[in-house]
């Protein structure tokens, strides 16, 4: 069985091009349409400018200023940006950000596998479909407070590990230089993966059952079906979720860091977004905080641009 994705045939007789006179007569109508379209778009543009562009421009301006406490500020040129290269805390935060970004494949693949299992109605799929989404409905700050207890040296995770004879694995999760960051990412993944499962399930619903059935009848196993059928057909959804995760892991984690580690121990879980907050509101260094924020913006933009471009290409590619 095969499914044709060829475009429907067009009319047998090509429509001749409009004569210049007729095109000229259409102009007033086109203009009206254009103005009407512009009018419809205007509220969205106004909102975007007011709430996105203006704050961003103000942030950029502030990043070139030097402030003392909450007092007046003065022009500082590029000082705030050059200062970042000598600041070990800033460098540590961006190094941590890269480590977090390196976990992206897990963020993308893990929910996909679960979504496919649910989609294929694996035993208990109804139960898991509901359960997986529950963590996403818990406020991240609450998740952080919860996991601070769960991951404590004498908390339930370590108690469980000791009970089943895995004493060496019962480490101080939030105290280690690497384990703290790993724990933070794991908690974040626990909190957000349900959204990924839902996103993929929505994408999977667009794949015709016949395709999956055909693959099954052709003898394709679970992983074969996943990588040879599901992933190619879900490419736009995967790209969308990847973009969301790529930016999300760098700008969604604030409440978790705040409740779980406050960037510690030392700077082990310090990420740029938390540093922006610390620098601006606790150290009262607004100019420097804004500069770090702009650096983070560029970092996220660079990271996302490839995925967005890929998504755009996928979305605008004409079917063959």
């Amino acid at each position: 069985m095969s499914i044709s994705t060829a475009p429907a045939k067009g009319p047998a007789v090509a429509t001749p091009p409009s004569p210049p006179g007729r095109r000229a007569r259409r102009r007033p109508g086109h203009a009206r349409e254009w103005w009407f379209g512009a009018l419809l778009v205007l509220p969205a543009v106004a909102l975007a400018v007011t709430f996105k562009v203006v704050p961003l421009v103000r942030g950029v301006i502030t990043s070139f200023e030097s402030s003392s406490g909450f007092g007046d500020s003065s022009f500082a040129g590029l000082d705030n940006y050059t200062r970042m290269f000598d600041d070990p805390v800033v460098l540590a935060s961006f190094r941590n950000a890269l480590l977090v970004v390196a976990t992206l494949p897990v963020w993308v693949v893990f929910p996909l596998v679960l979504a496919v299992l649910i989609h294929q109605r694996a035993p208990g799929w109804k139960f898991f479909r509901a359960v997986y989404f529950i963590p996403y409905t818990i406020a991240p700050i609450v998740v952080g407070i919860m996991f601070r207890q769960i991951l404590a040296p004498d908390g339930p995770i370590n108690a469980g590990l000791r009970a089943i004879g895995l004493e060496p694995l019962a480490i101080e999760w939030l105290n280690g230089q690497n384990s703290a960051l790993f724990s933070l990412v794991a908690v974040a993944l626990w909190s957000f993966f349900g959204l990924g499962v839902m996103t993929y399930l929505a994408g999977l619903a667009t794949i015709p059952d016949e395709v999956m059935e055909a693959a099954y009848l052709d003898g394709a196993g679970f992983w074969r079906r996943l990588f040879s059928v599901v992933v190619p057909m879900l490419r736009p959804t995967v790209a969308y979720w990847s973009v969301l995760c790529a930016s999300g892991v760098l700008i969604w984690l604030f409440p978790l860091i705040y409740a779980l580690t406050q960037g510690g121990p030392g700077n082990a879980t310090m990420l740029p977004e938390y540093l922006v907050f610390l620098t601006t509101f606790q150290f009262l260094d607004r100019g420097y905080g804004s500069a770090i924020g702009i650096a983070l913006f560029v970092f996220v933009a660079v990271l996302s641009i490839f995925s967005v471009r890929h998504m755009f290409t996928e979305g605008t590619r004409k079917p063959r």
Binding site: R148, D154, G264, G266, F283, L284
Partner: protein, 432 residues
């Protein structure tokens, strides 16, 4: 001509109405009472602040209080955006000392009124620049705050120690910790996240090495963190955790509430906290029983050092009127009342705290043994080194201590990081 006259009359009428509205000042007048928005972390607890609201409003029918209560550890994050945007509450609180000094741009200077408002207080220098009442003051304190070491008598007894003779020197403290640890309990309940280590632990060690001039140097940013006195202070702080005297998860928890919980549950022998507001003798007495709770000065490392036997004291929360408030008169009236006798007595009665007002009726003071002991300790105060630290220094102190505890940093590197934090501090850059 008539039109022009009419326009003139109307314009005059509008102007007069505007002036009259302006004379109403705080918006009071025929529209009803003025509502003051007060940002507070509720030092002393909700019950005390409820009493403040009820009592103040009863005696000031023209002013209503709208309290915005924020937890202490979240307070800077809520207050920061208000100050940055120069909008929000009419009255706000800050800790006395550098925290207030850092944010002085948000408050109306009290000028000559400061001396009059604060005339009955033991001290109010923490509300003024450089702890100097001859300089500009930005608010009003009403409580006295400072650090002591609480201990659980039952835990000491179980460890074979005399609960009536708590350790007075560093060596005695080490021996006591060894005994407590052997008995299966934590010696010192501690949390190293946030600003608590800077405010509650650092000053108690620093007193053994610094003079009052040094502490003023800390405030001005002229005392280097690589100075041997401060390096020795950091070394002793490190000793507390590296010798295993604390709970294992100290690097990843905060002292409030996590560290204090360990002590309140009866799982630790000692907890270094404060005399007023939260986690004081009253809260611990309720959790452990007044008769089980002891209080002492932190053990002396150099008993002969000039400040070793002193009390690190500081005015508690300072309330000031914000520069952007349109109800400054009413705000001033409220903070003046806060410094008065009536509020001093509410503070004692409901918050069980140490009042600053000297006219408070002594018969109202609590009868708890711990409170009585605190009266002895506070009688010989010195400057509080913790409140002299800037935001970056307080943050670096906690992070460095975490790393030293986990073996990720040496004390010398920690001192270097502290110096970098000092150099990053906008306020101290200005002071130098």
């Amino acid at each position: 001509m008539f039109r022009r006259r009419l326009a003139g009359v109307l314009a005059a009428g509008v102007a007069a109405a505007t002036v009259l509205a302006g004379c109403g000042g705080d918006g009071a007048g025929s529209d009803g009472p003025v509502t003051l928005k007060v940002l507070t972390w509720e030092p002393g607890g909700t019950e005390y602040w409820q009493a403040v609201k009820t009592t103040f409003e009863a005696s000031h029918p023209d002013i209503k209080l709208d309290m915005q209560a924020v937890p202490f550890d979240k307070y800077p994050e809520v207050q920061g955006p208000y100050i940055t945007s120069q909008s929000g509450p009419d009255v706000m609180a800050n800790n006395a000392g550098l925290e207030l000094f850092d944010r002085r741009g948000a408050y109306v200077p009290l000028g000559e009124k400061a001396a009059e408002i604060n005339k009955d207080l033991v001290t109010y220098s923490g509300a003024c620049e450089g702890f100097d009442t001859s300089k500009e003051c930005y608010g009003v304190p009403f409580s006295y705050q400072g650090n002591v070491l609480y201990y659980n008598k039952d835990v000491l007894t179980a460890a074979g120690l005399d609960p009536e003779k708590p350790p007075a020197t560093w060596d005695e403290f080490g021996a006591a910790c060894d005994a407590v640890t052997k008995s299966g309990k934590t010696c010192l309940a501690l949390g190293l996240s946030g600003t608590f280590p800077a405010y509650w632990d650092f000053p108690e060690i620093a007193r053994n090495y610094l003079t009052e001039d040094d502490i003023r140097g800390l405030l001005a940013g002229t005392l280097s963190w690589t100075d041997p006195k401060l390096v020795q202070t950091l070394e002793k702080l490190a000793e507390i955790t590296t010798k295993g005297w604390t709970n294992k998860n100290a690097p990843s928890i905060t002292m409030l509430p996590d560290g204090a919980d360990i002590f309140q549950r009866g799982d630790a022998a000692f907890a270094g906290t404060i005399i007023s507001d939260a986690v004081n003798w009253d809260a611990f007495g309720k959790a452990l029983g007044d008769d089980k709770l002891g209080v002492t000065r932190w053990p002396a490392i150099n008993p002969s050092a000039p400040l070793a036997q002193k009390f690190s004291g500081i005015e508690g929360a300072v309330y000031g009127v914000t520069k952007w408030s349109e109800k400054k008169e009413a705000g001033l009236e409220f903070i003046t009342w806060l410094a008065g006798k009536e509020n001093g007595e509410l503070w004692v009665k409901h918050a069980k705290g140490q009042p600053l007002n000297t006219t408070v009726d002594p018969s109202l003071l609590p009868s708890s043994p711990a409170f009585k002991k605190i009266q002895e300790l506070v009688a010989d105060p010195t400057l509080h080194a913790g409140v002299m630290l800037s935001g970056p220094e307080a943050d670096a102190l906690a992070r460095g201590w975490q790393q030293v505890t986990l073996g990720q940093l040496t004390v010398d590197k920690w001192a270097e990081q502290m110096q970098q934090a000092l150099e990053r501090s906008p306020t101290k850059q200005q002071g130098r």
